[in-house]
C-alpha cells in the first residue's frame, strides 16, 4: 500500500464528498430554515441531470447546456415550492414525508414519459476528457478534478453568501427563529421560495455533474439520497458548515473503507473471513459512523441552533 495510492484514494473520497456536499447543502438549508423534510430533493438532482443533457443536445454546447440545466432546476424548484410545498410548512413531518414521497413518484414517471425509461447517452466535451499525471504512475481523470474544483468553489461561495451578505443574514436568522424574522417585517414566504430554489439549483448542479459519470435514468436521485441524509445527520441539521464537514467525512470514509478495509482486516483475521466481512463492513461503515456521532453528539457535529 503505497502513499501515492492512499493519496489517490483520498482524492476519490474528496470528489465523492464534494458531490454529497452539493446535495446536502440544499437539503440541510430547507430542513433547518423551513423545518421541511424534503424527500424529493433527489428528484431535483435527477431533473438537473436530465435538463442539462437535453439542453446540451439542443444547443450543441456543453457550457450552455449546463447553464440552462442549472437555471431550469432553479425554476422547477421554485415552482414546486409555490405549488406543492407551501401548504406543508405548518403540517407535521409525516405529512411532509408523504407529500414529498409523492413528488418522487411524480417526477420519476414524468421523466419516464418525457425521455423514456432507458438510460440517456451522456458524454464529456473533449476539453474535459482524458486524465492528468499527478505524479509518476498516478493518473487522475480530469473531469473528476474539475468536479472537486467546482464543488470547493461553490462551498466558498456559499460561505461568503451565508456569512457576509444580507441574504445570508436572513437565512441564518430564519434558521434560528422564524417567527421573529417574520415579525421584523421580512417577507418570509419569498425568502422560503428563494432558499428552496437555491437548494434545488445546488441539487441540480450535483445531478448535472453526476450525469456523465453515473447513469441518467428515472430514479437516479434516490440512489444518492440516503447517503445525503447520513451527511446532514452527521453534520448537524441546518448547518452549511456541518454539511461540508459531514460530506467530506462520509466521502473519504466510504471510499477509503471500500479500498483498504479488506486488506487491513486481512492482517487481523484470517484472509477468507476478511474476504467476506470486508465488503459487508465497508458498505456499513458510514452508517456505523453516523451511529457513533449520534451517540456522542445527538445534534450532529455542528448543530445550527443553540
Amino acid at each position: 500500500m503505497s502513499w501515492a495510492l492512499v493519496f489517490e484514494q483520498s482524492l476519490n473520497g474528496l470528489q465523492y464528498g464534494v458531490m454529497l456536499f452539493l446535495m446536502a447543502a440544499g437539503l440541510t438549508l430547507v430542513f433547518g430554515i423551513m423545518n421541511l423534510v424534503n424527500l424529493a430533493h433527489g428528484s431535483l438532482y435527477m431533473v438537473g441531470a436530465y435538463l442539462a443533457v437535453a439542453a446540451t443536445q439542443w444547443t450543441g454546447s456543453y457550457l450552455a447546456g449546463v447553464t440552462l440545466g442549472l437555471l431550469g432546476t432553479l425554476l422547477v424548484g421554485m415552482l414546486v415550492e409555490v405549488v406543492a410545498l407551501r401548504t406543508l410548512y405548518e403540517r407535521d413531518h409525516l405529512d411532509q414525508v408523504l407529500a414529498t414521497f409523492g413528488l418522487i413518484l411524480f417526477f420519476n414517471e414524468l421523466v419516464a414519459i418525457l425521455w423514456g425509461r432507458a438510460s440517456l447517452y451522456t458524454t464529456l466535451p473533449s476539453w474535459l476528457q482524458g486524465h492528468i499525471e499527478l505524479f509518476s504512475g498516478t493518473r487522475y481523470p480530469l473531469y473528476r478534478l474539475a468536479v472537486i474544483g467546482v464543488g470547493l468553489a461553490v462551498a466558498a461561495l456559499l460561505w461568503y453568501l451565508v456569512t457576509r451578505t444580507r441574504l445570508g443574514m436572513l437565512i441564518r436568522a430564519g434558521a434560528s427563529n422564524r417567527t421573529m424574522v417574520g415579525a421584523l417585517g421580512v417577507n418570509i414566504r419569498l425568502l422560503y421560495t428563494v432558499v428552496f430554489g437555491f437548494g434545488a439549483a445546488l441539487a441540480g448542479l450535483a445531478g448535472l455533474m453526476a450525469g456523465p459519470i453515473y447513469s441518467v435514468q428515472p430514479g437516479m436521485g434516490e440512489l444518492i439520497l440516503i447517503q445525503v441524509f447520513v451527511v446532514i445527520v452527521i453534520g448537524g441539521i441546518g448547518s452549511i458548515r456541518g454539511a461540508l464537514v459531514g460530506a467530506l467525512i462520509v466521502g473519504v470514509v466510504d471510499t477509503l473503507g471500500r479500498a483498504f478495509l479488506k486488506p487491513l482486516l486481512g492482517y487481523l483475521i484470517s484472509p477468507p473471513a476478511a474476504e467476506s466481512a470486508g465488503p459487508a463492513l465497508a458498505s456499513m461503515l458510514i452508517y456505523l459512523l453516523m451511529a457513533v456521532v449520534l451517540a456522542l453528539r445527538p445534534a450532529g457535529l455542528f448543530p445550527a441552533r443553540g
Binding site: 481523470p141 471500500r258 465488503p279
Partner: protein, 392 residues
C-alpha cells in the same frame, strides 16, 4: 326513423347467431406475463413486452390456433409484489400460463404459486440455480439459461486464450457470487483479486484505482443494468479501455450500448444469442423488431419471444386442451418451434441445451453493435441438472 325490414331481419339473424356462439368463443388462451414495468429497471420490461407482442403478431394474434388474451403484470422487482400479481392472474383472470420474470428472487417466490395452482410457468429470464437442480418442477420451463452458463463460457474463453492475472469484479449478492463461481469452474489461471462491490453502487473510481495499482492483465466483470453503464463509463474515463481487455457477462447489451456508445467498444461478452445470429427465425425476429420499434432487440426480449412460441407449440400439439397441464408440459418438452437461437432442445431439468458464443462490441457504420466472434460451447448443459430428480 324508418328501418328497412330486410336490415331488421338480418340484424336479428346476426344477433341470434351471436348468442348461439359463446360455447365455441370461450375457447381462448389466457397468458399472464410478469415483468418489471416501473422504476429504473422498467426499461427491461418494456423490451420484453415488445417482443411478446411481436411474437403474437408473427402468430397472427393467435396462440396454438386459439384466440389469445395477454395479461401483463408489474412485479416492481419485488418478490412479494410478484406473488401478488401471479395470484391475481391465477384467481381473477384464470390464466392458463404464467410467463416472464427477470429476477431470480422474484422467480423463486412465484414458481411455487403457479405450479401449486397446477399451471405451467415459463421463465423467460431469471436463471436461479435451485430451479435447474433440486427444486426443478414438472410444470416449470425456462427459455433462457441457468445463471452459471454465461460466465462458464467466458471462463472457457479466457482459459483458452491463456489470459493470466485477472482482476474480478461483481456486486456483492447471490448472483454476483454465482457468476464468479461459474467463471472459475472453467478458468484455472491466476486471479489477482476478487472484489465484491455494494449492490447498486454508482461510483467505481475507488475500485478502479485499486485495480490499476495491482497491474492485472485483464478484467472480468459482472455489472447488470445501470451498474454496467456506470462501470463502463468510469472504466473508459480512467483511460483503461483499450489498455486493459475487459471481459464481461450481462453488462454490455443492446440496452446499455445506446447509453455508453464508444465506452463499450472492444468489450468482450459471452451469450447464448445475439442479434447477428444467422438463422431464419432470428433474422425475421430482428428485422421485424427493428421495423416495428426502430431499435435492436435485446436478449431479454429474445427469450420472451421464444417463451410465447413455446406456449404456442404446446397448445397446438395438445389441440387446445388447456385443462390438461401435464399433457401441455409433455408437449413443451419437445420444444417443437423455431427458436431465435437456432437448435433448441430441453434437458431433463426443463432448461435449454444450447450454444454459447463469444461477442465483441464493434463499430458498424455509425452504430456500435455486438458481433459474434466464435462459438464457445456447443450444446452446453448447465451443471445443476444431475441434482434434478424429476422423471422425464
Amino acid at each position: 326513423m324508418h328501418i328497412p325490414a330486410r336490415l331488421l331481419a338480418a340484424s336479428l339473424a346476426a344477433a341470434s347467431l351471436a348468442f348461439a356462439l359463446p360455447a365455441a368463443a370461450q375457447q381462448k388462451v389466457k397468458i399472464g406475463f410478469i415483468t418489471t414495468m416501473s422504476g429504473p429497471q422498467g426499461v427491461i420490461g418494456g423490451y420484453m413486452k415488445d417482443s411478446v407482442e411481436l411474437a403474437l403478431d408473427h402468430l397472427g394474434r393467435k396462440v396454438g390456433g386459439l384466440e389469445v388474451e395477454m395479461i401483463y403484470g408489474d412485479d416492481q422487482t419485488k418478490p412479494d409484489v410478484g406473488v401478488q400479481v401471479a395470484e391475481e392472474m391465477l384467481k381473477k383472470h384464470q390464466v392458463d400460463f404464467v410467463a416472464g420474470i427477470i429476477w431470480s428472487n422474484v422467480m423463486m417466490a412465484v414458481v411455487p404459486v403457479v405450479t401449486g395452482a397446477g399451471k405451467i410457468m415459463v421463465g423467460t429470464n431469471a436463471g436461479a440455480s435451485p430451479l435447474a437442480g433440486k427444486s426443478c418442477h414438472p410444470l416449470y420451463f425456462s427459455t433462457s439459461w441457468n445463471n452459471d452458463q454465461t460466465p462458464e463460457a467466458m471462463g472457457k474463453v479466457m482459459q483458452e486464450q491463456g489470459v493470466n492475472d485477472v482482476y474480478v469484479l461483481a456486486p456483492n449478492y447471490q448472483a454476483g457470487k454465482d457468476m464468479v463461481a461459474g467463471f472459475k469452474r472453467y478458468y484455472k489461471g491466476r486471479i489477482v483479486e476478487e472484489i465484491y462491490t455494494k449492490l447498486g453502487q454508482q461510483d467505481y473510481q475507488a475500485e478502479i484505482t485499486q485495480l490499476r495499482s495491482k497491474s492485472p492483465k485483464a478484467v472480468f466483470a459482472f455489472y447488470p443494468g445501470g451498474m454496467g453503464i456506470q462501470f463502463l463509463r468510469q472504466f473508459d474515463q480512467a483511460g483503461l479501455r483499450g489498455q486493459l481487455p475487459l471481459y464481461t457477462v450481462y453488462t454490455v447489451d443492446e440496452i446499455s450500448i445506446p447509453a455508453v456508445k464508444e465506452a463499450a467498444l472492444g468489450n468482450w461478452e459471452t451469450r447464448f444469442w445475439s442479434p447477428d445470429l444467422k438463422n431464419a427465425a432470428n433474422q425475421k425476429y430482428v428485422g421485424d423488431y427493428k421495423k416495428k420499434y426502430g431499435k435492436l432487440p435485446v436478449f431479454y426480449g429474445a427469450q420472451s419471444y421464444d417463451g410465447i412460441l413455446l406456449i404456442d407449440s404446446a397448445v397446438r400439439a395438445t389441440r387446445g386442451n388447456l385443462k390438461d397441464a401435464k399433457a401441455l408440459a409433455m408437449a413443451m418438452r419437445k420444444a417443437d418451434f423455431k427458436s431465435i437461437r437456432g437448435p433448441f432442445e430441453y434437458n431433463v431439468n426443463h432448461h435449454p441445451i444450447q450454444n454459447f458464443y463469444l461477442l465483441r462490441a464493434e463499430k458498424t457504420g455509425d452504430d456500435i453493435e455486438m458481433r459474434i466472434k466464435k462459438t464457445v460451447f456447443e450444446k452446453h448443459k448447465d451443471s445443476y441438472f444431475p441434482e434434478c430428480k424429476m422423471p422425464w
